[in-house]
């Protein structure tokens, strides 16, 4: 899975959130979050369950529209254009076709010429170690295999930014380790990683910087080492203390 030299000219990063809020039926889930996501470091959105991590990520990715505030990309996407960001969900959603065909489908939607799709899809499968299962129906693969396939599908699109929403939450330790290895490889190939997790060990292993979210508010933003050694906010201190015994 080599680096493609093809890159769209202007980067879509940095991503700026300006006072972004999201509420459903009056219940505030994301509360006035402002920050900039720069290219480079792996960004981990950390926080307890229900902190609004997944919703914040969907707001960034454009799956949800903020109730108030703005989500601004440096070079905004236009409808109908190939997306330059991708997302891997907690539960991978596979179409009822083969593993390979699932990636080919994503490439087709992205406008990749027909002749190049199979080759790129197979290369992506090789990158996650699923090439031997290329012809298997995607939905009969195990949970771990499906998540790796989801990563291959996202990677095949060569996104500038890859959002990952608790990608290992449903996986056993072995499958989680494999998924983490793939995420590292995608990062090493130059894709910006933005990932949510509530797992402190994973945040330490995979993260460069932490956005700590608590009850919808951005409580703290810090480099990983600083965050874990000297958390500034009381909420982060409590979270680290409460969580550590289980990591």
């Amino acid at each position: 899975m080599g680096d493609e030299p093809m890159r769209a000219p202007a980067s879509i990063l940095p991503l700026r959130l300006v006072d972004v809020s999201f509420a459903v039926n009056g219940k505030v889930i994301v509360d006035r979050v402002s920050c900039a996501v720069e290219p480079g470091p792996r960004t981990i959105i950390l926080g307890p369950n229900g902190a609004g991590k997944s919703v914040l990520m969907r707001l960034c990715h454009g799956l949800l529209a903020p109730t108030s505030g703005r989500v601004e990309w440096a070079s905004p996407e236009r409808p109908g254009e190939r997306r330059r960001q991708a997302m891997v969900f907690q539960r991978p959603v596979m179409l009822r076709r083969s593993a390979l065909a699932n990636i080919v489908y994503a490439l087709r939607v992205a406008g990749v010429p027909a002749g190049e799709r199979d080759g790129q899809a197979l290369a992506a499968l090789e990158g996650v170690g699923l090439a031997p299962l290329a012809d298997r129906a995607a939905r009969v693969l195990s949970g771990g295999e499906q998540q790796r396939l989801a990563l291959a599908r996202a990677w095949a699109l060569r996104p500038e930014v890859l959002f990952l929403d608790e990608p290992t939450a449903n996986l056993d330790p072995g499958a989680s380790a494999e998924v983490e290895r793939i995420i590292q490889a995608i990062h090493a190939a130059g894709t910006k990683i933005v990932m949510t997790t509530h797992n402190l060990g994973q945040a330490r292993r995979l993260g460069d910087e932490i956005l700590f979210l608590n009850q919808g508010c951005l409580a703290e933003r810090a480099a990983v080492d600083r965050f874990f050694n000297q958390p500034a906010s009381a909420e982060a201190q409590a979270f680290i203390k409460g969580e550590l015994p289980w990591t």
Partner: protein, 232 residues
């Protein structure tokens, strides 16, 4: 007498009795036409209700689900009133023709196919929506992807409609009139011949009808199972 009737029934079937064949053919023609029309209308309708939000949507879904159990005689009566000479569509002169029977069966099975399709599409949409939008598949691309992916569930919905159409007697009896050689189908013949006492023909048709419905359901089940195993 029953033994005799059964012998007679198999005799008719084995000999491919011309009259019997004609009745079976008309039945299939009427029901398949109704299914084709109902499917063309019901699948888009069900899909549209599944993916759109509008006031009164839940009420509409409840009504649609209730209409699955629409009594055929009531449908027959309503279509009869519409098509009868004094009715609003009386000038078309369709009453007591196979066309009238197709109309009645279409109305009967449209809610069945639409309701089942609505459920299937809604479940799939809930699952796929975010992923498809994330990949950049919107509008028609997403809709076609969805429909293709659940094609076996939709086929089951269509077959359910066909089974219902083949088996009902009330609607076709009222609007068709059970005219020999014109609008006489399997179910109406069975009703008539039974009351006349001609059990072999009634029984023969009964066996064919049940076999047909059985085969349909077996086909639907096998297909769904095979698809489940193949595609998950």
């Amino acid at each position: 007498m029953i033994i005799e009737a059964i012998y007679g029934a198999f005799g008719l079937m084995a000999g491919l009795d011309a009259k019997l064949l004609e009745i079976v053919c008309l039945s299939l023609q009427v029901s398949l036409s109704a299914v084709a029309i109902a499917t063309a209308l019901a699948l888009p309708l069900g899909a549209a209700i599944a993916v759109s939000k509008f006031p009164g949507r839940q009420t509409l879904i409840v009504i649609l689900n209730s209409l699955m159990g629409l009594p055929p005689v009531v449908v027959g009566l309503v279509v009869y009133l519409l098509l009868s000479r004094a009715g609003p569509l009386g000038q078309l002169g369709l009453l007591f023709t196979p066309s009238a029977m197709v109309i009645a069966q279409t109305i009967l099975i449209l809610p069945i196919i639409a309701a089942l399709a609505r459920q299937a599409v809604e479940d799939a949409w809930r699952e796929y929506q975010e992923q498809l939008r994330s990949l950049g598949a919107g509008g028609w691309t997403a809709a076609l992807t969805l429909v293709w992916d659940i094609r076996f569930s939709l086929l089951t919905a269509v077959l359910a409609g066909l089974g219902r159409a083949c088996a009902e007697v009330g609607a076709v009896m009222i609007v068709g009139g059970n005219i020999d050689g014109v609008t006489r189908v399997m179910t109406t013949t069975i009703a008539l011949e039974t009351s006349k006492g001609d059990l072999p023909l009634a029984l023969g048709l009964g066996v064919i009808l049940v076999t047909l419905v059985l085969l349909l359901n077996a086909a639907a089940y096998t297909l769904k199972e095979a698809a489940q195993r193949r595609y998950g």
